[in-house]
């Protein structure tokens, strides 16, 4: 069997069978299930009890309209007119006969004012709702007093019609932009999380081979570059297995609850009808982005000689991906800016940013191809350097992991692989 496949399948299978992987996958899947059923879970924990609010209406006119408004706004509140003094009302609240006490009075301008008494005011839900309703009441009364008729008021409050249309025929419509934004968000997060977790895995794996000294045996039986690529792809496959299983489960759950979700967050993210090209680009750029960071991780991992040192080496990687992340976030608002354009050709950032541009703007195909080409070349370059350093590192088991070691390791292995 080809050595590449031996190493790849060994890397993949030995990790796949390992307890940490199985446990973390199960936990992630449980999270997905929990998330998909979040509505039912919330319902499970919320009591169906209606909060009763005692109201002392000193104006004698406001209780009825307030009750109608509150009942229209929320099912969880019930207003009860309270006969008695404010002090009695407070006692009733303290004795938990009511959840809260609302005292409504009219001031000298005949406008409503309210005081709210509850055992604690940290739970602001009811409070805010009541405040809003009283406010509405006040607005209604105030306009009434100043003689503006209700129809005019409605017109004032109605939102303005503002439609943006792009004149360039190939430019994306507002709707398309929203869709692109949604999928860019998702891809940014998925890439960010995968790089963080699997980059670390690759780095420790490489460092582990160095510290357990098994690598001398390995480089004597297979070329270091083969080894490096097989390892990176093996862990990439592992990552895809995990992410894939989560996504597949997610899709199954969403399909089964389609009605519940449509029109909710998915409409906001614009997932309903995205052109297949965007999906294809998403997959291509995700894989490339993952590979760029994986090869960098492997290269950095080959520099350290002990697993404990990988944390240190993770830092530059985290910085890179964070910068890419922030540029992409900024770019979502201003996809046409120069910085976005420039960084979409820099291999550390381009997987995220070029994808964002493709999604949001109308980019000539050659630009996309050039960007992809640069990414592929730099993947090869990083893996090559990583393999050299890895091999040269056979002789380097120093404590430090400085640039000097890097040069030394390179110098030691200046030769064909």
């Amino acid at each position: 069997m080809n050595k590449f496949w031996v190493i790849l399948s060994h890397t993949y299978l030995s990790k796949l069978k390992a307890k940490p992987f199985i446990i973390s996958t199960i936990i992630s899947l449980l999270f997905v299930v929990a998330l998909a059923n979040i509505q039912s879970i919330i319902d499970l924990f919320t009591d169906d009890e209606v909060d009763q609010i005692a109201v002392i209406d000193e104006s004698n006119t406001l209780f009825v309209p307030l009750t109608t408004n509150v009942e229209a706004a929320s099912n969880d509140l019930e207003l009860v007119e309270f006969d008695g003094t404010v002090e009695e009302g407070k006692d009733a609240v303290i004795n938990e006969e009511y959840n809260a006490l609302l005292v409504i009075t009219l001031n000298d301008k005949q406008l409503p004012e309210a005081s709210y008494y509850a055992n604690n005011i940290s739970d602001t839900g009811d409070q805010i709702l009541l405040e809003q309703q009283v406010q509405q009441l006040k607005v209604a009364l105030a306009t009434q007093y100043s003689g503006i008729d209700e129809k005019a008021l409605m017109e004032i409050n109605e939102p303005v019609t503002f439609q943006a249309t792009a004149l360039d025929e190939t430019a994306k419509t507002e709707e398309e932009l929203n869709q692109a934004r949604g999928i860019v968000y998702v891809m940014l997060f998925v890439l960010y999380i995968t790089v963080m977790s699997y980059g670390q895995l690759i780095m420790t794996d490489v460092a582990n081979e160095k510290s357990s000294r098994v690598m001398e045996l390995l480089v004597s039986s297979a070329p270091a570059v083969t080894h490096m690529f097989a390892k990176i792809l093996g862990i990439a496959l592992l990552g895809l297995t995990q992410v894939g299983s989560i996504i597949i489960l997610g899709i199954i759950l969403i399909k089964s609850k389609q009605d519940e979700y449509m029109g909710g967050i998915f409409e906001y993210l614009g997932f309903q009808d995205i052109s297949p090209a965007v999906y294809v680009y998403a997959i291509i750029f995700f894989l490339l982005g993952y590979l760029v960071y994986a090869t960098i991780a492997a290269m950095l991992g080959s520099l350290v000689s002990r697993v404990e040192d990988t944390g240190q080496m993770m830092l530059p990687l985290i910085f890179l991906i964070m910068i890419a992340f922030f540029i992409a976030m900024f770019g979502l608002e201003a996809p046409d800016s120069t910085i976005v354009k420039v960084t979409s050709f820099i291999p550390f950032f381009s997987p995220m940013i070029m994808f964002m541009r493709v999604g949001m703007l109308d980019i000539p195909t050659w630009e996309v191809m050039v960007s992809i080409g640069i990414i592929v070349l730099s993947i090869l370059l990083f893996a090559y350097i990583g393999a050299k350093v890895y091999k040269g590192g056979v002789l380097l088991y120093g404590r430090s992991s400085s640039l000097k070691d890097f040069k030394k390791a390179l110098a030691l292995s200046k030769k064909d692989s």
Binding site: M1, K3, V6, I7, H10, S14, A18, N208, E209, S212, R213, V214, M215, E216, L217, L218, V219, S220, S221, A222, P223, K391, V394, L395, L412, S413, K414, K415
Partner: protein, 299 residues
């Protein structure tokens, strides 16, 4: 399948690790590399395997440079022992065996017989980290020989093993040689090299100090050891010409002499002096040669 090193030199920056080393290691032989720490043994092995570049000179095996296309013919036991600590012995050897071009089935049956031979069949499904250091070394040795290599390179194979296991490993090595494997190994234990090797090379700070077959090296060394046990005073021998070293022992003395002729002279000198219980002319030990050659250049 002769391994030839021709004027091989390796420099790391300004340091010369190996200096103009020329060797011929015949097929089906056991070749010993001797040398103190930092003599250049491991560097030489890494050059033979192609892990390191050669600064000058060339190394060929069967007329060709060793590269990855031949890795199924080559076995290597590195000086720095290393296995995956979390993997079981079985998975470990299967992986390393596959990398040497074997099939899983062959590997498992070979592994079974090796474990049997090393009297540790119960280790098959144990994780490497659970084994003692000496036992890990056995596993490492198995990983180097499981694919029946034609050329086996063993870097300090016996270090860290107890005498019983040294014997086990020695016999395994001898058997491999008899099955046609050429074996190159390094050691700083003279007795191992003396016992196992036909040919050897003593390296000192990268320079080959002595090289050739064991018998020739001993013969050409010239100096011999002479052991005399007698009832009378022998101190006067210390000043005799031809005596290199005089060492008094409880029962008499041990001399190092320049050549056999000296022993003849001494024999006649001793005539009539008294009772001689022992008069023995010995080949020099490798230890003597090593100390002489390497020790001399320290001065």
């Amino acid at each position: 399948m002769t391994l030839v090193l021709n004027q091989v030199t390796k420099r790391f920056g300004k340091d010369t690790a190996v200096n103009h080393l020329s060797l011929k290691i015949p097929e089906k032989e056991m070749f010993g590399f001797l040398g103190g720490n930092g003599a250049g043994k491991t560097t030489t092995f890494r050059m033979i395997l192609g892990l390191l570049d050669i600064t000058e000179g060339e190394i060929t095996w069967n007329g060709e440079r060793i590269n990855y296309s031949k890795s199924h013919l080559i076995g290597y036991l590195p000086e720095e022992r290393g296995l995956y600590p979390k993997l079981t012995v079985k998975d470990q050897i299967i992986y390393l065996g596959k990398l040497r071009g074997m099939r899983k089935k062959e590997i498992v049956s070979e592994l079974e017989s090796w474990l049997e031979r090393f009297k540790v069949p119960e280790y098959m499904n144990k994780r490497v980290e659970e084994l003692s250091k000496g036992n890990q070394q056995k596993i490492q040795f198995i990983s180097a020989v499981i694919h029946k290599p034609k050329l086996l390179i063993l870097d300090e194979p016996f270090s860290g093993l107890d005498p019983v296991n040294v014997e086990l490993l020695k016999h395994a090595v001898i058997d491999l040689k008899e099955q046609g494997t050429s074996i190159v190994f390094s050691s700083h234990r003279m007795e191992h090299v003396e016992e196992l090797c036909e040919h050897l090379c003593i390296l000192h700070k990268g320079n080959p100090v002595v090289e050739g077959s064991l018998r020739e090296i001993k013969r050409s060394f010239g100096k011999k050891n002479l052991i005399i046990h007698a009832d009378f005073e022998l101190d006067f021998l210390g000043n005799e010409s031809g005596v290199v070293r005089y060492k008094k022992v409880a029962e008499g003395c041990e001399l190092q002499i320049e050549n056999e002729d000296v022993s003849q002279r001494i024999f006649s000198l001793l005539q009539g002096k008294g009772f001689i219980r022992k008069f023995e002319l010995e080949e020099p030990s490798l230890n003597d040669i090593f100390i002489e050659k390497v020790g001399a250049s320290y001065e």
